[in-house]
């Protein structure tokens, strides 16, 4: 083999099954789900049966063991319908469960992970607060241990799947100020003192429900503490690495869908008596889009391959995220431009891709935060 193949036969099989599932169970409904601002809960169960939710998780918990590229194949196919919201909503477990998998006791894993992989319960991750998201070490939601319960007070916002999550992996302050006072608690939605807002109205990601969560003397069993007390910050930071990789993959796929739509459109659409592909300006624009996408995708895969081998990629995955999301903003912006007035109309895919792209450089750590992370590691 003269160059690295990231995807082997089995990855392709997994991709094919996922694609077939997506074509039948998601594609026909995605426009309606986007408009409705939600997708049916039973989609979790259907996806779970195939193994889509549990790819990369241990078989003992109902998952399917697989390397990072197995997961990437699944994530890529789940983006085919061109709805970032759908993929984020269906995939919120991938940010909520990994800390439990890494640090939870076998009992906690059985209690919290298995039902989510089976599609019976929905999981969300709550770190961001109304007062700030970038400064994780400064979070203000408190949890005070009283007898065998933590009494939680505070609020979280912009929480993906927040409206209907059954369990929320929540970052809380159990100790003093700064990063050394943070812990992770799994808070179940039926806990007294837990409540949530209506779905927040968003620019994009319409198919996913995003909520503000409130904790008002919310009594959480002490047994729901994940890992050691006051060690939560490190779990959150570790968790971010994979989320950032996933965001990069989503950005690359979003851009690919936009580019593919454009390549088709420029050959159909005529202006001044010829297809708009006939204008050199147009062709060069498409070349720039295709080139940046190619570079972004190859770099992302390379970073993933190293992460898969256990190589520290904190700097590189931050670079991948900031590059891929910026590339995606450019490509989707130009895609709308290429479609002209139609690009501004809801019935055209590029309109949605453009709106959905905007969150990618904000969620999972902003571009500015990515640059801070990289800066600390280059000098």
């Amino acid at each position: 083999m003269s160059y690295q193949h990231y995807f082997q036969t089995e990855h392709d099989q997994i991709r094919q099954i996922t694609r077939r599932f997506v074509e039948r169970e998601m594609m026909p409904f995605v426009d309606a789900w986007e408009e409705a601002g939600s997708f049916p809960r039973e989609l979790y169960q259907k996806a779970a049966k195939v193994g889509i939710l549990g790819m990369g998780y241990p078989e003992a918990l109902g998952g399917t063991p697989g390397d990072l590229f197995m997961q990437i194949a699944v994530w890529e196919e789940l983006m085919r319908p061109g709805s970032g919201g759908l993929s984020a909503g269906l995939g919120s477990l991938h940010i909520a469960l990994p800390p439990i998998l890494a640090l939870g006791s076998p009992e906690q894993q059985e209690q919290f992970i298995r039902p989510v992989l089976a599609g019976e319960r929905i999981a969300a991750l709550a770190v961001t607060e109304p007062g700030g998201g970038s400064d994780v070490a400064g979070l203000a939601t408190t949890a005070v241990l009283q007898n065998d319960h933590y009494i939680v007070n505070g609020s979280k916002t912009f929480i993906t799947s927040g409206c209907r999550a059954d369990l929320v992996t929540t970052a809380v302050r159990t100790g003093g100020p700064g990063s050394h006072g943070i812990s992770l608690l799994v808070i179940e939605a039926d806990t007294p003192g837990f409540s949530r807002s209506q779905p927040l109205k968003k620019m994009g990601w319409w198919a996913s429900d995003t909520a503000q969560l409130f904790f008002d003397d919310c009594g959480v069993p002490a047994g729901n503490l994940i890992g050691a007390e006051n060690m939560g910050f490190y779990a959150i930071m570790g968790n971010f690495q994979k989320e950032r990789l996933q965001m990069s993959i989503v950005a690359n796929m979003t851009a690919e869908l936009a580019l593919t739509a454009c390549l088709d459109y420029v050959q159909q659409r005529e202006a001044f008596g010829r297809p708009i592909a006939g204008f050199q300006v147009m062709r060069h624009k498409l070349v720039d889009m295709a080139t940046e996408l190619e570079v972004s995708r190859e770099f992302t895969y390379r970073v993933a391959a190293k992460m898969n081998d256990g190589v520290d990629q904190v700097k590189e995955v931050s670079m991948a995220k900031l590059f891929a999301t910026k590339m995606c903003d450019m490509v989707t912006y130009e895609a709308v431009q290429i479609f002209g007035g139609y690009g501004y109309m809801r019935e055209y895919l590029v309109e949605r891709l453009y709106r959905d792209s905007r969150i990618l450089s904000i969620g999972g750590g902003t571009t500015e935060i990515m640059k801070e992370i990289v800066a600390k590691r280059i000098f």
Partner: protein, 265 residues
């Protein structure tokens, strides 16, 4: 009681066929050239359900074909079949439906405890729909075609529903039975990821002509049916006309006139 599903590996529904000088070839942009015959997905699903709901001890997938037919058998395993068996021998090449039926019947006789054999309605390439009944004839078992439901398996009998053009029919017959099913019977499940991973590691036994004691009546030489002339149907001539008009009413009136003119209505 074991249930056996007979399935054939065929090109997928996205394949595009062409005929050149009597030779059939096909291309597939999907990248996955060979699949379980799409009609057989219902048969595989039903076999798994016979195990889940009617107490069969095992669901076994059976294919007669070239060694690469293992791919389709792996899909059957990934969907939930317990075992898969490939029947393959160079001497089988070119068998007609009767030869195919002889081979499958011999294999079915070798599977101890097989009581229910399920086929799809037809193969999307050969399209004869003959194999199930010919297999039943060779075995001397009851054939039931167009099955749209397995109602009950009790003692030595099975009750089935058949979907016919003008209605449905309930049939009760003795086991063993050979049935072919229609797509209304169920909604096939997707192969699961865990199933795929396990199927890739499974060894699929291959039974040869010697294993089945077959020494004649199969293969190209024994075929009674000969594909003497294969050709593509000439493309249908047609044209498209877009009806112009200032209003919907005007366009509809023009369309109705046209349809009368062409004697469509």
């Amino acid at each position: 009681m074991k249930v056996v599903v007979c399935t054939k590996q065929t090109p997928s529904t996205t394949a595009v066929f062409s005929v050149n000088n009597g030779a059939v070839s096909w291309e597939d942009s999907g990248g996955k050239p060979n699949v379980v015959n799409p009609w057989d997905e219902y048969a595989v699903e039903e076999a798994i359900r016979v195990k889940e709901n009617h107490g069969a001890s095992q669901a076994i997938a059976l294919t007669m074909g070239t060694p690469d037919s293992q791919e389709a058998l792996k899909t059957c395993l990934a969907m939930g079949c317990d075992e898969a068996i490939l029947v393959s021998d160079p001497s089988f090449a070119g068998s007609d439906t009767l030869g195919t039926a002889r081979i499958l019947a011999a294999a079915l006789e070798k599977i101890d405890g097989a009581k229910v054999v399920i086929f799809g309605k037809q193969a999307i390439d050969g399209d004869t729909g003959l194999t199930p009944v010919q297999v039943a004839r060779k075995l001397g078992w009851t054939p039931v075609t167009y099955v749209s439901a397995i109602k009950e398996i009790k003692g030595h009998t099975i009750t089935l529903e058949r979907l016919l053009e003008d209605g449905k029919e309930t049939v009760t017959t003795d086991l063993p039975v050979v049935i072919s099913v229609v797509k209304e019977i169920n909604e096939p499940r997707y192969p699961s990821f865990m199933g795929i991973r396990k199927a890739n590691r499974a060894t699929i036994p291959t039974w040869s002509a010697a294993d089945l004691n077959i020494s004649g009546g199969v293969g190209a030489g024994a075929s009674q049916a000969d594909w003497s002339h294969v050709y593509a149907i000439p493309a249908r001539e047609g044209s498209v006309e877009i009806i112009e008009g200032d209003s919907v009413e005007e366009k509809v009136a023009a369309l109705v006139d046209k349809l009368f003119e062409e004697k469509v209505i």
